[in-house]
């Protein structure tokens, strides 16, 4: 019998590792599983930063979860690609260790016109790795290239449309790319014109799609541009070496041409792709790697390890309640039924016992440790908790809902993932919901990610376990999902007041940060407390093993996962 258990265990971990293998390659908007992939975000418990002197040898060895598909800033779409870009190139701004965007290629803070529509950036004296200066033209070229539909940039139109002037029209081939609202006034002055005021515009400037590209170099390389480490130019803290374009290992070396090279301590970063989480941990324990993510059953085992670092991620998972299926209203169109379901499962137990991977219970849509107002207050402290678990209230709503519908029994299907962790979680939901709500039958439908996306696209489900990770640092990245007709609102939810509030944050409130955050808080309350359009479940967390001598790693809530610029080794010897 023992052998059987072993077999089962190994088979399970195998299945799990296969699923993980794909995570790194998918875009990170919608998360395919409840299983954490290697997308680490802002730390809740940073490793303690004792003021240790850096060692003489500054070499660190890290793991990525997938190979690099591309490092062309216009083409990059995956977590690994953005991470590499963030460390070998640099935009006008860069996220610092506190996750505030600060001038990087820009010499100083941008000059913003009164109407919030024109940003003027003065560039610092910085060079590419071939010794030539980085100019404003490099930005104009890169941005035009990204918005040009012929480039097929996944993030170009996605990030620029409705933000930078004429971006939408150009991406639909209705205008020439030269009409994009970005102009090089001279070699060192870049002027950007926006479509509307965008309060989070400067943090966007740290995002990979907005990095510069040197026209001469890109054109001369042609199709070979960015296909291996020799066919790239670098203006960031490190240069990429020993990357053959498809391989499972690469090396970062300190970039001596970088403007801030004196503050870069690491000399070499060796990276290997390891898709199997158990192997990653073994490499870590063997001293071959200085950091490794742990997931699944390993998380249970290593959660209390003395070198374990708990990090909170910015992906939030929730139930989507579909109000209209196959052209007909579902019982979920009844608000009391939705509220009953939303309040009838215990979230803390789910996070701590079922998931046990560093995730935390969520009574909100916009995650914690993600967006801050001007005084640095977390948006979560401005907007309160909604749809907190309460079995008694849930039962009342349920009775009321059933009464309104004139039925005594209801059956719903929960559409969820098919990984081990997802299955465990789905079982938990079934037990909790059925246990609390009399007359409810839950059927579980567990499918692979691609199938779930397809069913979501056809709005063919009752209740779906879904998730979202932000693309930029603003509550709108989440709040925009559920406006009437929104691309992610495939559940026929519509609330006029909600729509108006969201519209106002883009329009008349755009230049009033405090009122804007108030509006978001109000909208979040409508979405959750009043409407229970969705039911938040948890905010994803990650557990990482990290050697105590590896210090100063920057961990970011959106865009690239990590910055190695300030990282160093101290006390390894």
């Amino acid at each position: 019998m023992k052998t059987n258990k072993w077999l089962l265990l190994v088979a399970l971990s195998l299945v799990f590792s296969l699923v993980l293998a794909a995570c790194g390659n998918k875009d990170k908007d919608e998360d395919k599983t409840a299983a954490p992939d290697k997308k680490d975000d802002k730390a809740t418990e940073q490793p303690t930063e004792e003021a240790g002197e850096p060692d003489a040898e500054q070499v660190v060895s890290l793991i990525e979860s997938a190979a690099i598909p591309s490092v062309d800033s216009a083409i990059v779409e995956d977590a690994v690609g953005f991470n590499v870009l963030n460390n070998v190139n640099e935009g006008l701004y860069r996220l610092n260790l506190e996750n505030i965007a600060e001038p990087a290629m820009a010499a100083e803070e941008a000059e913003v016109s009164e109407d919030g529509l024109t940003y003027t950036f003065k560039l610092r004296d910085a060079n590419w790795s071939d010794g030539t200066p980085v100019t404003a033209h490099d930005f104009v070229f890169a941005w035009q290239r990204a918005i040009d539909p012929a480039t097929g940039s996944p993030y170009g139109p996605f990030m620029m449309s409705g933000v930078i002037k004429n971006a939408t029209a150009i991406s639909e081939e209705k205008m020439e790319k030269s009409e994009l609202g970005v102009v090089a006034e001279d070699d060192k002055t870049l002027v950007v014109t926006l479509e509307r005021p965008v309060p989070y515009f400067l943090s966007l400037m740290s995002f990979g799609t907005f990095y510069p590209q040197k026209e001469e170099f890109v054109t001369s390389k042609g199709d070979a541009y960015a296909t291996n480490s020799d066919n790239l130019l670098y203006n960031g803290p490190f240069i990429l070496t020993e990357w053959d374009g498809t391989g499972d290992s690469w090396v970062y070396k300190k970039n001596e041409h970088y403007w801030d090279a004196e503050n870069v301590k690491l000399e070499t970063i060796n990276v290997d792709v390891v898709k199997d989480s158990a192997t990653a941990v073994k490499l870590y324990n063997d001293g071959k790697k200085d950091r490794a993510g742990v997931s699944g059953d390993l998380a249970l085992q290593y959660g209390t390890h003395e070198e374990a670092v708990h990090e909170s991620d910015t992906a939030v998972f929730y139930f989507k309640f579909n109000q209209e299926r196959n052209g007909e209203k579902t019982p979920l169109a009844n608000v009391n039924i939705r509220k009953a379901l939303a309040k009838s499962f215990e979230k803390e137990d789910l996070a701590d016992v079922v998931l046990a991977n560093g995730s935390t219970a969520a009574n909100f849509l916009v995650p914690r440790d993600f967006a801050y107002d001007e005084s640095g207050t977390d948006f979560r402290d401005i907007s309160g908790d909604h749809l907190v678990y309460n079995a008694e209230e849930a039962k009342e709503y349920w009775a009321k809902g059933l009464d309104e519908l004139g039925v005594t029994e209801l059956e719903f299907e929960i559409l969820g993932g098919d990984t081990e962790l997802s299955k465990k979680m789905n079982e938990y939901f079934k037990a909790q919901l059925e246990g609390n709500l009399e007359g409810l039958t839950i059927k579980l439908k567990e499918v692979p990610f691609a199938v779930r996306l397809e069913l979501d696209g056809n709005q063919d489900y009752d209740i779906q376990v879904s998730g979202w990770g932000p693309d930029f640092q603003d509550p709108i990245s989440f709040m925009d999902l559920f406006v009437t007709g929104g691309t992610n609102n495939l559940m026929s939810f519509s609330n006029k007041e909600y729509d108006e509030l969201i519209e106002a944050t883009k329009d008349e409130l755009a230049l009033d940060p405090a009122a804007r955050y108030e509006a978001f808080a109000k909208a979040e309350k409508i979405l959750l407390e009043d409407e229970a359009a969705i039911a938040p479940i948890y905010q994803r967390g990650l557990i990482q093993l990290q050697k105590p001598y590896f210090k100063g790693l920057g961990i970011h809530p959106f865009g690239a996962d990590h910055s190695y610029k300030w990282a160093y080794i101290s006390g390894k010897e």
Partner: protein
Amino acid sequence: MVKYIGKRLVYMFLTMFLIATATFFLMQTLPGSPIASYNKLNETQRAIVEKKYGIDKPKPVQYAIYMKNLAKGDLGTSFVFKGKSVNDLLATRVKPSFILGAQAMVFGTLIGILLGMLAALKQNTIWDYGSTFFAILGVSIPSFVFASLLQYWVASQWHLLPVGLWNDGWKSSILPSIALAMGPLALSARFIRTEMIEVLSSDYITLAKAKGANGFEIAFKHAFRNALIPLVTVLGPVAAGIVTGSLVVEQIFAIPGIGEQFVSSIMTNDFATIMGTTLFFSALLIFIIFIVDLLYGIIDPRIRLSGGKG
């Protein structure tokens, strides 16, 4: 012989053609688009990108174009690794896979033969039971279980060999090779044992014994050579076992090989790479089976390859 080879080559091409066709159409049933960020692209971009990859055309046209390129040896462009041809992708990854596969094959069969002979010569002793038990384990436990066990004990606990990765020279290849070799080892041990026992009871062995040949001479000079013949026939399936085993074993040891690439290409709907790796593995197996059949004829003169209706 020439006629036989010619005929076999025709069949081989036919088989490849059928595999390519079947894979092409099966692949279309995978849910989702091969373009990873499909949801992020706008209509204009989608049209341009689909045109670029040729997936805007009707399926039969896509099929025809693919087969035409395939005939020229062009496996197309990867959807995931932007701008990189599948040919290049495979070329950089073939070496680790080949080393592991070859080592596993050689090591597995050699040890298997020794174990099998031992079992046959010491029939119904503890040696026999021991190696039979070992063989049953090898056949019934998949290679990735051995991989995990070896990784845990030999590498993690005893620190004798690397846990994984492909950066420690030959040492990196030892554990994955052993894990992959378990199947072939067990299979050949069982085969050799059965054959040896049969051969050892045949008349010419009795005659050799009567003539006073010693045990060693009988075992190696007379029995072994004849017992070897049936083993050659299973080399084809053995190679297939190694290939399928490598899909997972490479992932466990983080080896940058083709098997690992095959798995991830399916996960990402990378059509061109799925096709490329499938065809590569198929071609390899078909070729091995062909060689085995040829060998069979050479080793055992009783088998006439030219016999059209044999």
